[in-house]
Symmetry: C2
Subunit: 309 residues, 2 copies
């Protein structure tokens, strides 16, 4: 069974890992948000791509979900001593990825080609694609600080500023990586992982043609909102600031018209009647992934649920 998963960072990477455990090699394709990508110390950093790849390669830091397991920090610590910015810490091993990616990009390789090569080196059996090889930047329009690029908002400002609007700068001109269309075409299921709708999934959907390519496919969303909160990150805060009460129901509304199945947490079972009124088929299960067993289990439940749609 071929599945396409859309993913942002840690939450998305967890479910992608779950699918990778139970599908045949090559049957999982992950399309990853690159709206967070930015330049830091002259290097090209792709936080979500790296989180997904490190997770799939089982080399991610198990405590944070991002970065490399057992990493150390001398390089950036030295740069900080010399006056460099200290708000985005990069481990030594992680830095190796950014160094080689930057070298290859400067040599004219495409991000999707680089990612394919890296996945091969890391022994990843799934296919991982950045949503585009072009530059798309998620920009938060904030009340206090005006426009902030995602990492500036997320890491540097610790999600403090209030969001007024969000834009995906460059999305109108960006082209999806062509293999994405083949993967969607071949898939019997498209899953939006439990990633932030506003800054992880929507940037992917903003790239011309991706939404349309999925229009005839069975699309299932896993809600990243549980009991009105996000397990990690500012998704719930963003809903509030954009005038919407954060809930699994609000997530279902957010993707209305695009999805056919909706997976949400057992803790939100009280929302069942409201969600079922929305013309989508819903399924409730434990969606919190604490360990590898949880990840594979959730992936399995989603596949079984999809077969009922």
């Amino acid at each position: 069974m071929k599945i396409v998963a859309l993913a942002g960072g840690v939450g998305g990477a967890k479910l992608a890992y779950g699918f990778a455990q139970i599908l045949k090699p090559g049957d999982l394709t992950v399309i990853v948000n690159t709206g967070d990508d930015f330049e830091h110390y002259g290097l090209y950093i792709c936080p979500d791509l790296d989180t997904v790849c490190y997770s799939l390669a089982h080399i991610a830091d198990p405590l944070t979900g991002w970065g490399r397991a057992g990493d150390t920090y001398q390089s950036v610590e030295e740069a900080i001593k010399l006056g460099g910015p200290d708000w985005f810490k990069i481990g030594n091993k992680d830095l190796g990825t950014h160094l080689e990616r930057t070298r290859r990009l400067k040599a004219g390789q495409k991000l999707s080609e680089i990612t394919r090569d890296f996945c091969q080196y890391w022994g990843i059996n799934s296919r991982v694609f950045p949503m585009t090889d072009d530059k798309v930047s998620t920009i938060l329009i904030t009340a206090e600080m005006g426009e902030l690029p995602f990492q500036e908002y997320f890491v540097h400002q610790k999600c403090q500023p209030s969001i007024r609007a969000i834009k995906y700068s460059g999305a109108d001109k960006a082209k999806p990586v062509p293999e994405i269309f083949d993967a969607i075409e071949a898939a019997s299921l498209v899953v939006f992982c439990p990633s932030n709708p506003w800054v992880s999934i929507d940037p992917i959907l903003s790239v011309q043609g991706i939404k349309k390519a999925m229009s005839k496919k069975k699309v299932i969303v896993v809600s990243p909102i549980i009991q009105g909160k996000a397990l990690k990150g500012p998704a719930a805060k963003m809903f509030v600031e954009l005038g919407i009460e954060p809930s699994a129901e609000a997530v279902a509304d957010h993707y209305r018209g695009l999805i056919r199945g909706f997976v949400y947490d057992l803790l939100d079972i009280n929302l069942k009647s409201k969600i079922d009124q929305k013309g989508i088929i819903s399924y409730t299960t434990n969606t919190i992934m604490r360990n590898t067993t949880d990840k594979a289990r959730l992936a399995e439940k989603i596949i079984k649920f999809s077969e009922t749609i």
Copy 2:
């Protein structure tokens, strides 16, 4: 006593360290070759500047003379695993310097300003200037491989190709760092450290105005050639390939018209009559610097010798 020292990498850094030990804070100015600078993994690397600064800050690797003491290599090792070039290994701490320098250059700061700030962070009492803030590249024109940038020749090709000629690309348009003129003006002595004449000192002299600024100054050269050989690097091989027998005498000839004093090793005492015929005043002493005492001793001897000129 104010001294200006011209230096390339390891040999030059040793003598600069010697002068720094015995002069008052601020009395030593080191003008450093940047013809070897290159981009690697997207980062801007200044091998000679770093070698001189690390030496003056007493944080250089005591075994190699370059790089940082006690450094580790995870970052570049990871990049190499991903397919990156392995011929120029950079330690983690050393990488911190390149990261912050690259960040600042991209933010529009000048290399000389960055170097000044770094020297302050490292507690260096001497003034260190890159020869120019503009791009000058030492290019080796080789028999086997055509034109090679310095690091490509020196590190990647291990100095194997035969030199036909050397050029300093960009030198005709490069402007010296302005403070260099003030430093030379204020100095009572200019010393060419025992660095490679062709690829360490000549690139500095190739920058418009530097030679002229020194024309009325007492200039002393310390020969990097001892008994026909260089302690380190390809200086002797370059003399041979350019049709000149390598010797302290050849070094004196190389700088003819520019220098007034010449310091060479006791092991070459047999060349004394030949060297003294060249219209320069010579001095012979032990020029091999094995430890910090040797460095300070040689610096002291040079200063005493200069007072006799």
